[in-house]
Subunit: 204 residues, 2 copies
Amino acid sequence: MTERGLLIVLSGPSGVGKGTVRKAIFDSEDNDFQYSVSMTTRKQRIGEIEGEDYYFRSKEEFEQMIRKGQMLEYAEYVGNYYGTPLPYVQKTLDKGKDVFLEIEVQGALQVKEKVPDGVFIFLTPPDLAELRMRITGRGTDSEDKIDERMKVAREEIEMMASYDYAVVNDEVPKAVERIKNIISSEHFRVERVIGKYRKMLEEL
Amino acid sequence: MTERGLLIVLSGPSGVGKGTVRKAIFDSEDNDFQYSVSMTTRKQRIGEIEGEDYYFRSKEEFEQMIRKGQMLEYAEYVGNYYGTPLPYVQKTLDKGKDVFLEIEVQGALQVKEKVPDGVFIFLTPPDLAELRMRITGRGTDSEDKIDERMKVAREEIEMMASYDYAVVNDEVPKAVERIKNIISSEHFRVERVIGKYRKMLEEL
């Protein structure tokens, strides 16, 4: 009996280092995640491989997938669509393999609606001292500027509330270790394994 | 600002090896848990130290603590009370230290009522094959015997449903590693850390 894979979503405020951490996780030795290839309507560049760098589709095809509810999440950026196609993700999870997505906060919230039992990890800046400095600046900034940053910080923290875990990105190897620990621990959550036991008893 | 410690509860069906796993966790190098000393009404034996092996109390004192709601969990066994006093546990958690309890399933359910945000870990037998064998036996057992075991197995699995994690005790060092991973991951859960961020923003 194959246990279903986990959908892992890594996100966080821009500039926090999501891409670097994701890359380090995939480069690490004992990783066993499937990276999800995005779909886009932008033109294929020389050297890019279909199904590896992206799935390249026309705007019409992409919009049809949106209408059919086949995009796990998507966004428009400079006139092109970018997103995660659902069928591939579902197929991989059904095979018992974990799928790892590294996406922007808005996309993560879309995924949360479609796959509430995913594991949602929010990467946070190194420490509160840095957050404080980012907000108050060097004491030479105008009140308006500080208020604006304060608003952004508040929004970021309220976004965090929709996630399961908040992991500090103080040092990349440490953040990687924490995320890998979280993923292996999530496999032991009762709601993910109890069905296996119940089914076994039924089959006796 | 001190983050509150976690209350970790390790339990599981009798005979699964809870005591062995708990001992291995406390003997491991990087453990940083506080073991909770139980309270009992049984007589202090020679060599036993008050506050280290047990808190030794009279039946009247123990019953008064129960009435005052100061027992996190307790049970009666061969005419004596055994239980976990709440005040010490609360004090330790407030200091930011994790408290580790290894108790019977009934006690764990009592703890769950009083401290729902604890981390409840259910230790399970090596594998489903063993569970199947425990139930069906060697094929020479009576239907009644198999039915009885089936009932016990069902009850155990339904108990599991009140826990957060189910960890297989296939090999003690592996089970220890899994439990330690779970505990460190739980420290990153958003509901445990978001208050810290919110408070920080208020204080700016």
